[in-house]
C-alpha cells in the first residue's frame, strides 16, 4: 500500500513538473510540419472583443501568407483601468489596445515597459480607429432624448459606467462636459475664443450639468460592457451613454426591436490608442510580429474590419461609401481643444478628490 502510494505520488509529481515546464514555455515553438508557431497577447478594453476576434483571424491569415508562421493571438478584455493595472502588475502583454492614452501613459511612466513617446510609434497618434459617444435609448425613444440637453429632463434614468475604472465612462463624462460648454459659449468656436472668466463661468454650468446626470444614475458598472448589460439585459434606465461601436453592437445583438441609437449633434472624438509593450515583446521575441499586428490595423483589411464592427476607420478612403453611411454626421471635438491633455483632464476630473468625487460628497 505504502509502495503503491509512493509510486502514484512519484508519477503525479513528475506529471506536474512536466506540465509546469511545458506550460511556462515561451511564446514560440515548432509545430507540426516545421511551421513556426507564435503566440501574442493583446490586452484590450471592454467593448473590443468582437472586433479583435475577427481581426485576429485576419491577421493570422495575413501572417501565414507572408511569413508562413502560425500565430495565435490571445485576448484579454475588461475595464481599461483594470487592464492597465494588470499589465503593470506583470500580465505580459505583447500589445495593448486600450480605451484612452492616459492609461498607457501611466504604464509607460511607472514601469518603463514602453517608451514615454509611445504615441509617436504608429501613424495618427497610434489611433488606427476612432469612435465617439452616443446614446442608446428604448425602442421608439419614449422619453424623447435627442441631444445632451435632454439628459437634464426630470424623471429619466441614465446608465453610464464608473469613470474611475472605465475608459468609456471617462469619454462619456468629458463628452457631456464639452457639450455643456459648447452650449454655454456658442459652439466649439466660442470655447476657443472664450476669456478665462467666461470659461470659468461655463465650467460651473457644465459641472452642474454633470451633477444632474449622475444624480440620475442608479448603478455604476465597472466597465462599458457591464453598463450595456444593465441597460439591455437588466432593462435599467432610459438612456445609455456609450461608445458608438458598443451602441451599434448592442442594437445588432438585441435584434433591433428593443433599443435604438440616438446620435447627438456634438460629441467627443474618442481615440483609443494602440502600442507594443516593448519590454515584454523583447522578452518573448515577438517585437516584429507585435509591430506587424498593430500595423495590420491600418491596412485595408484592418480598417474594413474596424468599420464592420462600428469603429470609425481613420482612413475613410479605404472604406466603401455604403459602409461609411452608417456613421452619422456629428460634429466632433477633441479632448485637447478643451483640456489640453489627458493628464490634465484626469487630474481635474477623475483623480481622487477630483470633480467626479466631489459630485458624490454630501453637501
Amino acid at each position: 500500500m505504502d509502495l503503491m502510494w509512493k509510486h502514484t505520488f512519484g508519477w503525479l509529481s513528475l506529471w506536474l513538473v512536466s506540465v509546469a515546464l511545458t506550460g511556462c514555455d515561451g511564446s514560440s515553438q515548432r509545430g507540426e510540419g516545421g511551421v513556426k508557431k507564435v503566440q501574442l497577447l493583446n490586452v484590450s478594453y471592454d467593448p473590443t472583443r468582437e472586433f479583435y476576434q475577427e481581426f485576429n483571424e485576419s491577421f493570422a491569415a495575413h501572417w501565414k501568407a507572408t511569413k508562413n508562421e502560425e500565430v495565435y493571438v490571445e485576448q484579454s478584455h475588461g475595464g481599461a483601468g483594470k487592464q492597465a493595472r494588470a499589465v503593470m502588475d506583470g500580465l505580459e502583454a505583447d500589445v495593448i489596445t486600450l480605451a484612452l492614452g492616459y492609461d498607457i501613459d501611466v504604464i509607460a511612466e511607472r514601469t518603463k515597459l514602453l517608451p514615454l513617446d509611445w504615441q509617436s510609434k504608429f501613424p495618427k497618434n497610434s489611433a488606427p480607429y476612432s469612435s465617439t459617444i452616443v446614446f442608446l435609448v428604448r425602442k421608439g425613444n419614449p422619453k424623447g432624448i435627442k441631444d445632451w440637453a435632454d439628459l437634464e429632463k426630470e424623471g429619466i434614468e441614465i446608465i453610464t459606467p464608473n469613470p474611475k475604472t472605465s475608459g468609456g465612462a471617462r469619454w462619456n463624462y468629458l463628452a457631456a462636459w464639452g457639450a455643456a460648454l459648447a452650449k454655454e459659449l456658442g459652439g466649439m468656436e466660442g470655447i476657443r475664443k472664450a476669456t478665462p472668466e467666461q470659461r470659468a463661468a461655463a465650467d460651473k454650468k457644465a459641472r452642474a450639468f454633470i451633477e444632474s446626470i449622475f444624480r440620475k444614475v442608479p448603478v455604476l458598472d465597472s466597465g462599458a460592457r457591464g453598463a450595456t448589460n444593465s441597460f439591455v439585459q437588466r432593462q435599467l434606465g432610459d438612456v445609455l451613454l456609450t461608445w458608438e461601436n458598443e451602441a451599434f453592437l448592442a442594437l445588432k445583438e438585441s435584434g433591433g426591436d428593443q433599443v435604438e441609437v440616438v446620435v447627438p449633434k456634438l460629441s467627443i472624438l474618442a481615440e483609443p490608442p494602440v502600442a507594443v509593450v516593448d519590454e515584454y515583446a523583447k522578452k518573448h521575441g515577438t517585437q516584429e510580429i507585435a509591430k506587424a499586428y498593430l500595423e495590420h490595423l491600418y491596412s485595408p483589411q484592418g480598417q474594413q474590419l474596424a468599420a464592420k464592427h462600428f469603429f470609425r476607420p481613420n482612413s475613410a478612403e479605404l472604406i466603401s461609401t455604403e459602409q461609411m453611411a452608417k456613421f452619422a454626421e456629428v460634429e466632433l471635438f477633441q479632448l485637447k481643444d478643451i483640456w489640453g491633455s489627458w493628464a490634465e483632464a484626469q487630474k481635474v476630473h477623475f483623480d481622487d478628490g477630483g470633480i467626479f468625487d466631489q459630485i458624490y460628497q454630501p453637501k
Binding site: 475595464g79 483601468g81 483594470k82 492597465a84 493595472r85 503593470m88 501611466v106 511607472r110 464608473n162 474611475k164 475604472t165 444614475v217 442608479p218 448603478v219 455604476l220 458598472d221 465597472s222 437588466r234 432593462q235 435599467l236 477623475f350 483623480d351 481622487d352 468625487d357 458624490y360 460628497q361 454630501p362
Partner: protein
Amino acid sequence: MELTLHVSLGEGSCAKQPMSRKRSYSVLPGFGLTMGYTLTYLSLIVLIPLAALIVRAASMSLEQFWAAAFNPRVMASYRITFGTSLVAALVNSVFGFIVAWSLVRYRFVGRKLLDALIDLPFAIPTAVSGIALTAIYDRNGILGHTLFQWGIKSALSPLGICIALTFISLPFVVRTLQPALEEMDGESEEAAMCLGASRWETFRRVIFPALFPSLLTGFALAFARSLGEYGSVVFISGNLPMKTEITSLLIITKFEQHDHLGATAIAIVMLVASFAILMSINGLQWYLAKKFRG
C-alpha cells in the same frame, strides 16, 4: 464541510472529554511535528501574505494613511459594509436557527435534500449567486417587480446588499448550530418539563443558553463572511459612492485607478476591524460557554 468538522470537533472535545495531556494517549504524531507543521502552514497561507500587506502600507506616512483610509467616501463604505453585514448576520441568526432546529429536531420527507441545499450558497460561485438574485430582485425581476411598485427597492440599494449577504452567509449559522443541536440529548428538557417549566421557559432557560455559544459562533462567521463578500454584491448593488458602494469594491476600484497604497490602507483597516470583531465575539463566546458549563 471542513468548517462543520472543525466546529463540531471544537465544541465536542471541549464539552465532553476532559483534556488529556498524557503523551501516551496521543493519536497523532508528536506535538513537535504537528505544531511545526501547523506554524509553517499558517505562516505560508495566512500570516506571510497579511504581513506583506502591512509592509506595503509601511511606506505611507501616517497622514497619507489617514487620508486614504478614513476619507468620507471610505467611511461611508465602511458603514454600508458593516451595517449590511450586521443585518445579514442577525437575520440569519434568527432564521438560520429555525432552519437548523427543523432539520435536526423533526423528521420529514425531503429533509436530506433540504439539508443538502443549505450548502449551495457555499458551493456556487458568488457571481452565480449575484446573477440569480438579480434575476429575482431586480426592478424587472419576478419579486422585484412587485416590490418596486410598492416603493421597496430590492436591488440597487442597501436592502439589495443585505439580501445578497443573507443568501451567502446562511450556511454558516445553520452548519454551526446543527452539531450543537444534535448534541442535546433532550434529558434536561424533559427534566425541565417535569419540574413544571412551560414550553417557553424550557426553551428560554434550558435550550437557548446551551445553544447560544454556537449561535454566536455562527453569527460571527456569517458576519465575517459578509464583510469580505464581493462577487454577488456588485451585481445587485448600485455601486454608487457614498450610497451603495461596499468596501471590497472600493479596494478594487482603487487598484484599478493605480492607487495601490490607497487600496492597501483600506485593506488594513478591514483586516484590523475584522480581526477585532472576531476576537471579541470569540472572547464573549468563550466566556459564556465557561459560565454556562461551569
